[in-house]
Symmetry: D2
Subunit: 426 residues, 4 copies
């Protein structure tokens, strides 16, 4: 354990006075009851950390390691445990198979539990070939023209479900790199039909309390078409598969200028929104720190989610699978993830501050000036004290990144794991 309660208290103690003052100020702004309500909701909110985001990512052109990367699943769990100790909002881990195969699920589960972690969605991988694999995914997997490739990919997914069951997961997240690079390469209809058929086979193996999360993605360098390229296609698949199939929205998987908050709203309306991949991006699927490029968009998405979940009677904390999906090329992944979780909590808190009754009234009156004022008023409010308070109340650090740096945790990890330790994955 890199963090202990005494150190946390030593970190928090000198910050409490100022925090109390800031809480008092925001209480005067929005009311003490509202503050309490937001803090309580923040305490329940949890974002799953993906096992693949704990090592260095890279571009097509280069990858730069940083030392102390976790090279085993146990070390990855340790890293997420560390985050959870610091921010008390990262109590779940999302595994990627085969990068992180739990050889002994029981002991892995115990290890996670010792950090207070549960296992969120499991992720399969049919976008890379593994050594010894009979058929290649070069031309796709679930959409492949060759039934043998599809069967191999289906079998892999079924295996991933089995791992997930052993760990207590309750959903399978499906992201495919299936697509085409050249006009003419694919018959789009057949590719779609094959994908659907393959997914039906996987869906049939899904435990009754599981969800199948169908992720879409608009593009990645090298592609001309993606077989599940937009929310319409993901929705179509999910609606044909059945009620436990939902879509998974990744903020970075859209064409330029797409209105993601509207997509989210409509998917919620159709009961087909299943989960979220948080990150931020400037141009494409940049997988950058959440909220680092366009925090207002993140807030708008959250506003739609909150309003839509409330309308459906969904519990914020558990109604959707909340996950980060990011790639850490320059930043220390743990610092990056702390920043991301912080940004998510801030946006959630801001969205909770929107005066929904007044907004509805202004919308009904087509008073767009007022609509904007209401939305921006919540956004302009400095909610950082609420987030810090929720964290402290649960035993986390007031300022997680500062704590992490002051205690030289990366240095400790490097000493223990080595400078050249490299995380499995991409």
């Amino acid at each position: 354990m890199y963090v202990n309660a005494i150190e946390l208290e030593e970190h928090n103690e000198p910050r409490r006075k100022r925090l109390a003052m800031e809480l008092e100020h925001i209480s005067e702004q929005v009311g003490a009851d509202k503050c309490r309500q937001v803090i309580d909701l923040l305490r329940k909110f949890e974002i799953a950390i993906p096992s693949w985001a704990l090592g260095a990512g890279g571009t097509r052109f280069g990858r730069f390691g940083f030392g102390g990367e976790p090279s085993t699943l146990a070390e990855k769990i340790e890293d997420v445990g560390l985050l959870q100790q610091l921010n008390r909002a990262s109590g779940a881990i999302s595994l990627h198979i085969p990068w992180d195969i739990p050889e002994d699920p029981e002991s892995i589960r115990r290890l996670a539990a010792s950090y207070g972690l549960r296992f969120d969605a499991v992720n399969s991988n049919t976008f890379q070939d593994q050594p010894g694999q009979p058929y290649s995914y070069k031309y796709g997997s679930l959409h492949h023209v060759d039934v043998r490739v599809r069967k191999q990919a289906i079998a892999h997914n079924v295996e991933v479900i089995r791992y997930g069951v052993a760990l207590g997961s309750q959903s399978l997240a499906l992201w495919l790199a299936d697509g085409s690079s050249y006009p003419g390469q694919l018959n789009f209809r057949r590719a779609f039909a094959n994908t659907l058929e393959s997914m039906e086979a996987i869906y049939a193996e899904l435990p009754s309390d599981w969800n199948l999360l169908v992720e879409y993605k608009a593009f990645e360098p090298n592609f001309y078409s993606m077989t599940i390229g937009d929310w319409g296609q993901a929705y179509l698949l999910a609606s044909k598969l059945g009620p436990r199939a939902k879509t998974l929205v990744d903020l970075g998987h859209h064409l330029p200028n797409a209105n993601i908050e509207q997509i989210v709203s409509l998917l919620l309306m159709e009961e087909k929104l299943g989960g979220f991949h948080f990150n931020d991006s400037k141009y494409g699927d940049d997988d950058l720190t959440v909220g680092c490029i366009n925090p207002y968009q993140l807030y708008l998405v959250f506003s739609q989610l909150i309003e839509g979940m409330d309308a459906r009677g969904l519990t914020h904390a558990t109604g959707l699978a909340w996950m980060i999906d990011a790639s850490h090329n320059l930043k220390d992944p743990l610092e990056d993830l702390l920043q991301s979780v912080e940004a998510i909590l801030q946006s959630y808190a801001q969205a909770l501050l929107v005066d929904q009754d007044a907004l509805r009234e202004a919308q009904e009156a087509s008073d767009v000036v007022r609509c904007q004022e209401l939305l921006q008023d919540a956004y302009r409010t400095d909610v950082r004290p609420l987030v810090a308070q929720a964290r402290i109340e649960q035993g986390g650090a007031c300022a997680p990144v500062e704590f992490y740096r002051q205690h030289g945790i990366r240095k400790q990890l490097m000493q223990r794991r080595g400078v050249h330790a490299k995380a499995t994955g991409l």
Copy 2:
């Protein structure tokens, strides 16, 4: 009549020899039977001309007239008749209400028939306020928060259907400027629900042999969201409405880089593609001459359409509502439309030349090099002689734009209608 058979023959006669030579050449390239088959299909193919595209368009910043614009519906029909006489592929007209109200439908129908024209989809307009209209469409129409506005918009659409019935149309094309300019202005779910409810009311009034065509559009300067912004939303509406509701794809109504050919393919698969608006664009909804910016994309779209329609057993000529939707800011609209129809016919002919059996085989073998060769081979073929031959066989002009210029038709129109005649519409 601005064109007579003698003039046409005088125009065609000196061109026949060269055309014959070129036909012989392409027959050697692709086979005489194939040529004949393509010509026969071209002869049956017809693209509807929109009544609003016969005058000068404009941007937000300016509009430049050109003289001789048709200022009455009769003159617009005359213009389309002229196109039809020249290219024999523009035998339908798509009306826009209230810009072109047929006060006396029977006489209008007779006038059109005298040019060999039929009436394709009728278009309603709830994106502008008309003088004396009780409620404004400033904040939308079918999606409006105020039920009175929605009812007014529904009533207008029902009226448009009535005009259409009187003229022999069989579909109503719905394009809405409903959207929002500012985050917070709209509740997306309520906007969608209102739209659906309004469309249900319109659908209920649809004659049993009519289609309702739901058009989507990604953006237009001034908007932050469009209530029917992508194919997914149009599909959702059409599938909830019923079997006679379909989507209408306008080539210029997509986000940057969207793969339109894939969208087309999937909509056909789902039996939800109803019609097409042809044009071309560089950045947004530029409404430029078909094929002037990216003719290969047009060809790829046609390839998907042909393959998909054949798979469904749909007749090319009548399986979809084929329409041009363009805006003529710089070119003489009649010349522009002649160029557009020509580009459509060329793409159609090229798509017909694709060796579908070989392509399927190459796709099944994941031979992407061969897929591309097959697709590009058809595209690189110079099909202009086939298009010209189809035209001549039906009594049209070998080179329509040349004919139009040689006979100074615009000048005649200006003399008759005046230099400052201005078409109704935008």
Copy 3:
């Protein structure tokens, strides 16, 4: 006068206590000296209001008036005066010729002065034809192939300079709709050369204390190319013209995903940034309220501007021509402009709070986590009290939009000017 000092005091008085409390809070956050410094800079900051933004705008498809629009230049000045009385940061007006020709410049100047207004950049118009104009701008103006058209456009600009001199302006802003709609239409080099030659003629007529501001724009529906389409082209022209030619950056005039803050930084570096057009946009040149779509981008732009101007020793308030360029389709223009100015001042204040020394240090250490923390720390700070304080100190309203609504100013304007009054312009 729609606003008087007594009413303002009645509005401000009950808000002072809360504002004082909020100021105290932010003083504790960032220091009292820093607050004072920011407030003092805010007091000096001024954004010019464009005369064309006071009436209803529109799209290609429709325009919806709102009543009480200013139909004369005097009324437009009255409107800007009203804004200035409320927010004390709109003390300049940017005129558009020929929409707002000051027939009697001396009296117009006196009228403006009576509201404490000065005249910022004057704008010419060669993107529309005016009645009686010998040559059309259909195919462009300064880039036109026909020298007579170019000369006419040059003469118009010289006339605009003359008006500007009479009013005390010191810069001419040049936005051209010159471009092409079709590949092949233009020879790009000749278009550029013609533009340069025309601008040289205008530049030669520029008073010695004037700047020529060259605006670029990436696209507008209907175009295939813009003759001044990006900052590179504007820079090229400005650098060939001479030291008093600069570029004008409009936030909405870029291709999707362009990094505008980087452009701004480089233009400043090259001493070629002359002015700014503020607005916000989702897709294209949407001309929406400043900060309504992506307030963080606005802040990033300001951060670059402040850092860059400080590095050059430029005074914030006067180093650049700060202007709004927006179009008001749904909102009351005066409310919209109040929101825009507010958003600009907030971003400016946030940018002033960035700890530049710490940021430089973090940058030098490639500590990107810290760079982000520093940048977001300033952004997350609730600077609204600073902006309100700066306004109140100068005699403005604590909450301008609220004041405007409480006093029913639009209603008064409608009563005086009529419901159907329509602003000159587009």
Copy 4:
């Protein structure tokens, strides 16, 4: 040698008759003299093949090998030699250091000469760390805040020049992955100034008959800013460096919807266009086969190049550095390169067929309909026989891809080099 003259003749012989017929047809279309002139120009035209494009590329997510990849520089030269034997238009190779270090330049040069190959631009690599390298390029190279990193990168470039001199190259192509991932990370001005200073040091080491080619790129997943992100920045650097510094345009390195042909035209005008990287793309820097997505754009670019080079008196074949830059993820790289070269030659031939006099006349008359007709007339012409004829006349294969397949060359390469041979590089 995988290709010999006898086999080529056996391949060509049965195709000659049909080719002759097709040549006759095109001669009738455009005139025999014009055909001869185009063929002669095609014969002189040569596109450099990059040494890094001969093995399998990949995405961030996966790489799929194909067998028989060249694993040494000698084998890469052999591959390019093979292409050259087949298409007689690939007589140059562009090396990438350190992926392909010519340990013994003299023998490498002889080997290349034995295939009739020369060395075009050499490329440096400061976007990856090499084993044993003192300083990391994680945060950039020529723009780095740390002068030691910059010096290391400069030294590398100087070394690359030295290799290039030994091989007879005459230009250094500089592509940097220098940029930032997060707002705040970089001071844009300092990054630019550092880049300029570094380039000045490299420029100073440039032999007097060499060019420095500055490449720009808009984005790549993971970035928020690119230090040389658009043509404006590349131009600025090149113009500050001196007359032998030029820009390098890669077709895939632009923001969505950029008008590349206009950029090309202006850079030529300013004498700052130095070279070209051909490829095609749908969304980002997809590095797909030239002409596979948007062949008309390629043609438009060529039209501008031809017209602009003629205006400057530049020889087509040598006035610019013509290179392919593609990544081969699905196709056999040799087949892919054959398709790319073919597409380039076709576009070049089409551009040569444009009636420039008539086009100029139509432009001067603002006859945009005619401009389009002229441009499309050349484009619609089936120029494949001209390209084949130029190839055959020089001893190449009439149908290179067919030849390659019929002779099972990939199979031979796999047998000799092994199925798991892997090219050096990414």
